[in-house]
Amino acid sequence: MTTPAPAPQTDEQILEVNNIEVIYDHVILVLKGVSLSVPRGGITALLGANGAGKTTTLKAISNLLHAERGEVTKGSILFGGAEVQNLSPNDLVRRGCIQVMEGRHCFGHLSVEDNLLTGAFTRRDGQTAIREDLDLVYTYFPRLKERRNSQAGYTSGGEQQMTAIGRALMSRPKMILLDEPSMGLAPQLVEEIFEIVRKLNEEQGVSFLLAEQNTNVALRYAKYGYILESGRVVLDGEAKALRENEDVKEFYLGVGGEGRRSFRNVKHYKRRKRWLS
């Protein structure tokens, strides 16, 4: 098992996760010691197969596990240098760390615009500032502006995803935990969303922790990446290095020796247990 690289200087890291263990329902051990860190102003990707524990890691960070009868039993989590395991989710949002949950989770009965406004719940800087940010979100996602008065429950999957991201932006976060933003989005939109991520990162210095299945895109935008397999970090490194890694190429990017494999010709490989852990 590859141990994660020793974490660099603490004040550089906006988020640090040290060796956490998560148990659901008192019995199901899901994370078996995960450590990772996100530098201030960085974009870090968290990759891994289904069920590897990406979502669990993000929820552990944002303290949303309680509602699912899960708990962090070991390890520590530091955000902006301070321990945050015992904070409530809203304290964390107030400190600037917000999660965009997997699978959209919009407020179905609220209009798209009200959905966005709920994102500003923790803000104290007045109506005009909030209005300005709303307009900003609308410039990022023009489609939302068109549907601003529809009930979110009736909008399409992609529109809901945009709403969820837009809603997070409304809290003016320092750091966004983005869980599978590309799921179910049209290719064009995937690019757009990642472009927005890049823009926010560059223009406003927002840090990102991205959990993604779409390794290809994720590694193009992220600077650093961690690969998670059944609750453990099995590989990490600079995005560029990961892209060059043979295993990553083979199993995550789908490029074998002779370029991209066709989905039509896939054979049934037994490819479990590749990284000896």
Partner: protein, 319 residues
């Protein structure tokens, strides 16, 4: 034939024959309706913010009223007892949030519903332990609620309107208007509506469940107190009041579980219609006591046409 006459003609003939009596019936229905609406309001608020079907609303009414009267009987001046009671309701809201709701976050609706029945039982036991079971007199006069009655004499008969009922009607209107503004215009109002849709998502955007729930349960407590004062002024305060929770349920069905407007309109409609039905059809034809079920049947019929009630949120069904 005679049957048709009894059902379709005679009742209306009776109404026309004694218009003053009809007016009185309508007024009684209206007052009853306002009370139902008030209880329903408490339900709606809590349902909206947590999808909890708070069965304990009925007992909260009793509890609030008993606390008020109990404090007064212990020698606390009425005008001090009122804020003290509010404080008690706040403590109650906080306790419920801490002990019951927080550990049950994200559980299925029915579990939370059961939990509120648990709360109901607890409060019944607790309340009787402290206040005893006897019927108490509401401290109407001490709270400066007028107690006289106004008598009109239209159509050669008379219609008598209790001043305290009138106060209740006006008070309820004000309360509702305030609530509507609060829910639709304020940030907390929006958060309350968001919470109802998705607890997790609400948590993730930084809405504090605990705070909102305490606020909501406290408001429900205030509404309960208002209901308790009004209803207690009519019939005294005792644990027999707890059954009024059941009068509010059809109102909710009719008006829609999440709608403040619905609670009001549903309450008034049910109050008036059930009284008319009881007086002009129920008593002469069915042996009376139809109020026990009329509202439910009416609401059921409405639901068959609109499954989410008149003003409820449409159930979103997508795949």
């Amino acid at each position: 034939m005679e049957f048709l006459n009894d059902v379709l003609v005679q009742p209306f003939a009776d109404m026309a024959a004694a218009p003053d009596f009809l007016l009185q019936v309508l007024w009684e229905g209206l007052v009853g309706g306002v009370l139902y609406a008030l209880i329903a309001l408490g339900f709606v608020l809590i349902y909206k913010s947590s999808r909890i079907f708070n069965f304990a609303q009925g007992i909260m009414v009793v509890f609030a009223a008993l606390t008020l009267v109990g404090l007064y009987e212990k020698g606390v001046p009425a005008l001090l007892a009122l804020p003290l009671t509010l404080a008690v309701m706040l403590v109650l809201a906080m306790t419920i949030e801490r002990v019951v709701l927080r550990p049950l976050v994200n559980q299925p609706d029915i579990i939370l519903f059961m939990a509120t029945i648990g709360i109901t039982l607890f409060l019944i036991g607790f309340g009787e332990l402290i206040f005893g079971g006897e019927n108490k007199v509401m401290i109407t006069e001490q709270l400066f609620i007028p107690t006289g009655s106004i008598v009109f004499e239209p159509f050669g008969g008379f219609v008598s309107i209790e001043e305290k009922d009138l106060t209740a009607v006006i008070g309820a209107m004000v309360l509702v208007a305030a609530l509507l503004v609060f829910l639709n215009k304020s940030k907390i109002g929006r958060a309350i509506r968001a919470l109802g849709d998705d607890h997790q998502a609400a948590l993730s955007v930084g809405i504090s469940l605990s705070t909102i729930w305490v606020i909501v349960w406290f408001i429900a407590g205030v509404i309960a107190l208002a209901t308790g004062i009004v209803w207690g002024a009519r019939a005294g305060v005792s644990f027999a009041l707890e059954v009024i929770a059941f009068k509010a349920l059809p109102v909710l069905m009719l008006g829609g579980l999440e709608s403040v407007m619905g609670a009001i309109i549903g309450g008034l409609a049910i109050g008036i219609l059930e009284k008319l039905f009881e007086i002009y059809w129920g008593q002469p034809l069915l042996g009376g006591n139809t109020e026990a079920w009329f509202a439910y049947m009416l609401a059921l019929l409405v639901l068959l046409v609109r499954p989410q009630g008149l003003f409820g949120e449409k159930i979103i069904e997508r795949v």
